[in-house]
């Protein structure tokens, strides 16, 4: 079972840990695994938790999505209708919904890691 800092922090509560991991995995499973990894990397880079993804060789649609993901941590209220429409056009409506969950959760997980949640939870 994998799931980032939340699953680690919830080690003492296997029921919540298992359900969190299942939720996280369901968002990941809705999109291409390589795209999920790029998105998580893009969000983590905004938090200075790693390098930004190498976008050379990526198609324009993927780059558009990564630019959107880049804005989620600190500029979520400034994302425009046009930016959202471009992502939705690339991923489709269902894909855009999954991508929204993925990017929002990736941002929150980075923040949980930065605040030291697993350590605070006694892990």
């Amino acid at each position: 079972m994998s799931g980032g800092p939340l699953v680690a922090a919830l080690a003492g509560n296997p029921v919540l840990a298992e359900h969190y991991a299942a939720f996280r995995a369901s968002a990941d499973a809705a999109l291409d695994p390589a795209f999920v990894a790029l998105t998580r990397q893009a969000v983590a880079a905004v938090h200075r938790m790693g390098p930004a993804p190498d976008e050379s060789g990526l198609d324009e649609g993927t780059r558009t999505c990564l630019a959107y993901a880049h804005r989620m941590p600190f500029e979520h209220t400034a994302i425009t209708d046009a930016e959202a429409a471009a992502v939705s056009a690339h991923l489709g409506e269902a894909g855009y919904v999954a991508f929204s969950v993925l990017t929002a959760l990736a941002d929150a997980e980075c923040r949980a890691e930065l605040v030291g949640l697993p350590e605070l939870a006694g892990v």
Binding site: A9, L16, H19, E93, V97, S100, L120, A121
Partner: protein, 177 residues
Amino acid sequence: MSTIPRVSSATPGEPAHFGSVLAHQPAIAEHFFALYGRFWGSDVLSARIKEVARMRNARVTQCGFCRNVRFDKAVAEGLREEAVGDIADGYETSARLSDAEKAALKFTDALIHDPDLLTGDARAALQRHLTPAQIAELGLGVTLFLALAKALITLGLEPEAMDRTVLPTPAVLEAAE
């Protein structure tokens, strides 16, 4: 910030709202609601403290929907509007919020805004007032509140106007087990 849905409803006959939009991804919806119901059903951390953290997140992320919803379990645990009104900048001086709630609010601010807020005295206060298991559950809650609020906002699901609304606290539907 758009108040026009950027995604259509996937539930016939229903307008676009969080549930009907998430229905585009049934597996995500199923796992989210199963998790969220169990989170609110757990009594490791009181519903009142969870709601205090949720209200703080709603203010900071500017989620109007989250801000106007109250969950009945927290209301039953004595969370009154006067105390909710104190969950603004300067909550540290509130006489209506407990020390444990103020420690939870500082943790919430650190997670959703600036991790440097949880150093020294603030970190010690959190660990004095909450057990590690309670902090883990609070961390789960704030993570979900933050992600949910940002998803709502970016999907254009913010209401133009909304009255304060007390809703049943999310619960696990046994029939779905």
